[in-house]
Subunit: 382 residues, 2 copies
């Protein structure tokens, strides 16, 4: 994938140059930055390569489904809602590749078989976040409806692109709604803690867990945010610190193992996290470390809020124990951005997610409202 634009920008809070900023802000976006967007002129998917942040701003142009799959697998785009949107656009690119070979006589069965194979290749990139599978199912359903209504196979790429646009637009609207709803939980003088990156870079909009923070700040409330660096991939240090600094929101970056100390001595008032999958009973799969924060927050009488769109809820799983946990490569742990930190050959565990039982969750904030325990009834009603 060739970068369309690239800026080497060691960014300090709020001082990045306007040129770099103009690359990052999608025209018409409500949010301060976008993870990915469709270029209607060039007819391709553009995304920020998040593996290079915060020292380099690079926008990638993706023209094929394989490029999208690689970008998801390599964490160039990450965050449950964002990879759902990326996968939907990946299907649009894949469909166009399939039919651009001037094969107008392809039959409906073959077309759907090919689309299902594309979806399977994208679905296998990341197993934990349900939004990925949800977006792919939506695209396949739209394709089936298209054919069932008697429309021609040749128009499938346009149909899928249209569905991807819908998923993207709905995600933006959901982020904005979660921001408005969740902002009610933030007061002047609060000290929030957040983990990983559940911001604009994790969605097509202004984020999930960070959305209430952005909205409350814009509304004039004043507070501070502790940011877990979030090893091994450092989404907190690299992405959340960068997003909050851009927005001028006071933040303190800490290593993950400092959270308990600042819960006891630093006056943390609440914890805001996103989610990759929520089971029917309210158990939450999210970035590794979330479960520990849940236990620690409860021990200190601090509420843990989970902010996620309805597409994150998987009612097919009765509890979080059934959620598959992605195990990633050892090099993410033994190296930090290419610098080796551990002896060669040492055994490593690298579960990318953990499951927080619902008893540690104070509330789940979705675009349709705040759900409080017991979660079963509230989640099913959604």
């Amino acid at each position: 994938v060739k970068p369309v634009s690239e800026e080497t920008a060691p960014l300090s809070g709020g001082t990045e140059d306007e040129e770099a900023k103009s690359i990052l802000v999608e025209p018409g976006s409500a949010g301060p930055v976008s993870a990915l967007w469709w270029d209607s002129g060039a007819e391709l998917l553009e995304m920020i390569d998040q593996t290079l942040l915060p020292t380099r701003l690079t926008v990638l142009q993706l023209r094929s489904v394989d490029q999208v799959a690689e970008a998801i697998r390599s964490l160039r785009v990450r965050g449950a809602p964002a990879i759902g949107v990326a996968a939907a656009y990946g299907m649009a690119l894949g469909a166009r590749e399939q039919w651009s070979a001037a094969d107008p006589e392809i039959d409906q069965v073959t077309a759907l078989t090919r689309l299902r194979a594309l979806a399977a290749s994208l679905r296998s990139t990341r197993p934990t976040a349900v939004n990925l599978a949800w977006a792919l199912t939506r695209v396949l359903d739209a394709a089936e409806r298209h054919l069932q209504s008697g429309k021609v196979v040749a128009e499938l790429p346009a149909c899928i692109l249209s569905e991807a646009h819908s998923i993207c637009a709905e995600d933006k609207a959901a982020c904005a709604a979660m921001g408005e709803i969740g902002a009610a939980l933030i007061k002047d003088g609060d000290s929030l803690l957040t983990h990983c990156n559940a911001g604009a870079l994790a969605t097509a909009g202004i984020g999930t867990a960070l959305a209430p923070i952005f909205v409350a700040w814009s509304a004039g409330r004043r507070f501070e945010v502790f940011v877990d660096e979030t090893r091994p991939v450092l989404q907190g240090a690299r992405l959340t610190a960068w997003e909050l600094a851009r927005a001028g929101i006071p933040l303190t970056l800490i290593t993950d193992n400092m959270a308990a100390h600042f819960m006891r001595r630093g006056g943390i008032t609440s914890v805001f996290v996103g989610a990759d999958r929520i089971a029917a009973n309210g158990d939450v799969a999210n970035k590794i470390g979330t479960y520990g924060l849940g236990v620690l927050a409860q021990a200190h009488g601090i509420p843990l809020y989970v902010v996620a769109p309805r597409s994150t809820i998987d009612l097919s799983l009765s509890s979080g124990d059934a959620i598959p946990i992605e195990e990633r490569g050892a090099d993410e742990v033994t190296s930090v951005l290419g610098t080796r930190i551990a002896p060669v050959g040492v055994k490593v565990a690298n579960p990318a997610f953990d499951v927080t039982p619902s008893r540690y969750v104070a509330a789940i904030i979705t675009e349709a409202g705040i759900i409080r325990p017991p979660f079963e009834a509230g989640l099913e009603k959604l």
Copy 2:
């Protein structure tokens, strides 16, 4: 400080070459590796530069008190008992510097004033570990006794060196005793968790928290050890993983935020940590992250064992709230071994230690035996 020997050795478990090994193993040491030792021939202090492990084995020769202070401040030598021993030898080097300028007529008051200034400069390098202050007080007391007994000022350097040797020898013996006593807490099939490095590299002997692990393994018991990488300075990934791999003990390296997940799903049976200071009520100051492990261990019904020599106990403090917590530089958090991971200018917190209230501690293992709650009486009896 000029390195006396240097090996670039990307070490895999147990496969390091013999030459590198020969540098690391102090002749006659009971342990597999030593953090520091006195070179009786050259009359100087040698230590491994721990900031360069595990990729480079470099032995430093220190000839002055300033070099020792710099080495402690820069974490070339770290670990509560090891910095106590280093400081004692630093006093011996400092005294020799003071009197090598052929000043035989110096009076006793001036001599003691100079020694107290040396001690103050060493004491200020790291505020949290009490062993540092304890060792310096022992050296000053020995010097005062020396002069009170009518001996001459010119013999003070030899007196102080002798006291440093005693402190070093006692630390080795204490490590061995803690290993024997603590090994009783480790059973076949256990899955232990340890944090930071409380091994041979943290002491003059075989370690504190790792001593029972080494002894139990040598006795034929078979178990595994989860090793927290321990951000920000990564003593777990760089030092503990290296020590355990050298000893052939099965280990799994994890990021700090995975500990809760493996307590819930990985069958962790106990947690072993060292200590930098223990208050009269059993509250424990130790590497940042220990407090969180204490809360998490208790929530999972897992015992947390603190292994530390008696010199770590500070009966002058009634509780851990009075223990000073060292705040280190932001660059330890925003960079990893020189690689920048966060936006420039971002605000950082970097407390090097936290305090674990005694209610989270299952037992304190010292060279004089195992103390169980309530700790006040047991600690005072020591």
